[in-house]
């Protein structure tokens, strides 16, 4: 087995007239956090869904942990966890029951409370998903990706729509999951988030990968090329001001 948990070669996905993914290749290393960045409609979600075996590809090759997405879909699903953009959960069930449902669907035995502890939602075990705040929903969504103790999890825009406190809280969670050795593949629109979380990022636009490297290297390269910001950067951002004034405490309880 290689050190790459994801290998994508010349991946193409065409819809009727539109080429959503236009021959991209990249690898994700075991244990890293890899970010797929790009504007809306760049092909991020399509690429993710092909890797998750939720969508067929037009051509190219994709291997997850050495397993082909063409042949070994069921085996792949058993070793990955998926958080979908805007996915709901079965109505009228409590969080602990939802975890039991997924445990059944993954054929694993699990302790719902232990998993809920991981995402700080134990006190919400008897609440319904729709009663949760935005940040709690995302945390629960990530919690369900961990039920089958996966090697690799996919997070599609996990912090979109969250307030700064909830975003930071989710970053901490993602770092904790990484620390356990789980590989994380995520997409995001927030560059600060990618800078903080990702070991490497791939920037994708019009279905093609423009560049892949660590955030540090990409910034250094840009600076070396003579780039200067039109305005001198201040030592803090408005978000720092906001967090400084309102604190780190999350506001969703």
């Amino acid at each position: 087995m290689t050190d790459n948990i994801i290998e994508v070669k010349d991946l193409v996905k065409k819809y009727d007239t539109l080429t959503a993914v236009d021959g991209i290749s990249f690898n994700v290393r075991d244990g890293e956090v890899f970010g797929l960045l790009g504007p809306n409609g760049a092909g991020k979600t399509t690429t993710l869904e092909i890797m998750e075996t939720l969508r067929d590809k037009t051509s190219g090759e994709v291997f997850i942990n050495g397993l082909s997405v063409d042949k070994d879909q069921s085996e792949i699903k058993q070793i990955i966890g998926i958080q979908l953009q805007a996915a709901g959960f079965y109505p009228n069930l409590y969080l602990n029951e939802l975890i039991e449902l997924f445990a059944g669907l993954y054929n694993v035995n699990t302790d719902p409370d232990e998993l809920l502890d991981l995402v700080d939602l134990r006190e919400k075990r008897n609440s319904k998903f729709k009663e949760l705040s935005g940040g709690q929903k995302q945390r629960f969504s990530i919690c369900t990706t961990l039920i089958n103790d996966p090697k690799l999890i996919f997070l599609d825009e996990p912090t979109t729509g969250l307030d700064p406190q909830a975003r930071r809280n989710l970053w901490e969670l993602i770092k904790r999951i990484k620390a356990k050795g789980t590989t994380i593949m995520l997409t995001t629109h927030y560059m600060d988030e990618a800078e903080i979380l990702c070991d490497r990022v791939g920037i994708i636009d019009h279905g093609k990968i423009i560049t892949i490297d660590s955030p540090d290297n990409l910034i250094d390269d840009l600076v070396r090329s003579g780039f200067e910001r039109p305005k001198q950067v201040k030592l803090a951002s408005l978000e720092d001001v906001f967090i400084n004034l309102t604190g780190h405490t999350i506001r969703d309880a």
Binding site: G88, Y90, E100, Y106, N107, N148
Partner: protein, 364 residues
């Protein structure tokens, strides 16, 4: 890597369990499946009464060229049934489907003898008929006052029979309708909502196969409907005196037929969930399927009450055959084999509906 074989059955059952829990917390499922049918049973059980006709059969050798026959034939409340199998007719008399047998014969002594055979299964109609006939007989005898002995004599007998109550008609119809609406509305709503909120997509992200998602969800609807059917039948039996001819066997046969019908009706639900674009499009389409059956399938009134041009429509609907089978089983004590025609017609509907469902069903 752990390489224990993935068990789809386990995945399916966990979905069934989850779905059942969710259903019991969803008031509309309980209302549709249980409260509505019970309200209808209550209302119609107490109101009762449909159009009033006395069904009479004249025996094979009966003299029909006489005044009494003509009087009865001209009476609006009396319906003379002709050209039928007499053995079957006698068993209908026991069940109260036919109210009386009449035989008019002329004895060698020149006396006219009217024999009236009524049934305990239909005592009211029997006694009304007796009044009508004795009035005719009396008038006729008065016309012959010159003879001392009455020319016409009325002989009555009453056979044993089970009394057919309104509840015996209403309850199977309501049970049938409860199954139809559970199958169509329940299934259509849940699959559209699971599709729209991407719950199905999240399920696809797990190793479970699509077909087991459908099976798991259908199984929970089946269990829930069996449970509500049991409640409806038992409440009917203990509170409204619903007839279960052979007791537990009849009860069991009713449940088996209900399960077969529900599987067919679930197919309608899958079709609706495939056709409807969103949840608000479900009620009109689902009503299009359920309402005509509600009205025409003999839920409230016997099909024979409808005008003749409408009856073939009724005869085409699957609910008609469920209602018919349930009534035959509950009141006449028919076994599953006795209602095989009804079951076959429901199964044909099932094949057609599932063929359409496979074509139109949408996963995302």
């Amino acid at each position: 890597m752990k390489d224990i074989k993935y068990n789809h059955l386990r995945a399916m059952l966990s979905l069934t369990k989850a779905s059942l829990k969710a259903m019991t917390r969803n008031p509309s499922a309980v209302v549709f499946n249980l409260v509505f049918p019970l309200i209808f049973i209550l209302v119609f059980g107490f109101i009762g009464g449909s159009s009033f006709k006395i069904d009479v059969v004249f025996e094979k050798n009966s003299d029909t060229s006489n005044h009494i026959y003509r009087e009865l034939a001209n009476n609006n409340t009396i319906n003379i049934i002709k050209n039928l199998d007499y053995d079957a007719a006698f068993s209908d008399l026991e069940k109260g489907r036919i109210d009386a047998f009449v035989n008019i014969e002329n004895s060698p002594s020149g006396k006219q003898i009217v024999s009236l055979k009524t049934t305990k299964a239909s005592p009211e109609r029997g006694s009304i008929l007796k009044m009508i006939i004795s009035e005719i007989v009396n008038k006729q005898n008065l016309a012959f006052t010159d003879t001392e002995v009455p020319k016409t004599e009325l002989k009555e007998t009453e056979i044993e029979g089970r009394r057919y109550k309104t509840i015996d008609f209403i309850l199977p119809g309501q049970l049938g309708f409860s199954l139809l609406s559970a199958g169509v509305f329940g299934t259509a709503f849940i699959f559209i909502s699971l599709r729209q909120t991407l719950v199905l997509k999240r399920f696809f992200a797990t190793p479970v196969k699509k077909v087991y998602i459908i099976l798991g969800e259908s199984l929970s609807r089946l269990i829930f409907s069996i449970f509500t059917s049991i409640i409806i039948i038992l409440l009917g039996y203990y509170i409204f005196g619903f007839t279960l001819v052979n007791g537990f066997v009849t009860f069991l046969n009713m449940l088996i037929v209900s399960v077969i019908a529900l599987i067919v009706f679930l197919g309608f639900g899958f079709v609706v969930s495939g056709i409807a674009k969103n949840e608000s499009a479900v009620p009109p389409i689902a009503n299009l399927i359920t309402l005509p059956q509600f009205l025409l399938a003999g839920t409230f009134f016997p099909i024979s009450n409808f005008p003749e041009w409408l009856q073939p429509v009724s005869r085409a609907l699957p609910l008609t055959y469920l209602n018919e089978a349930l009534r035959k089983i509950s009141f006449e004590g028919a076994g599953l084999f006795d209602v095989w025609k009804d079951i076959i017609i429901m199964l044909i509907w099932g094949v057609v509906v599932y063929a359409i469902a496979v074509k139109v069903f949408k996963w995302e």
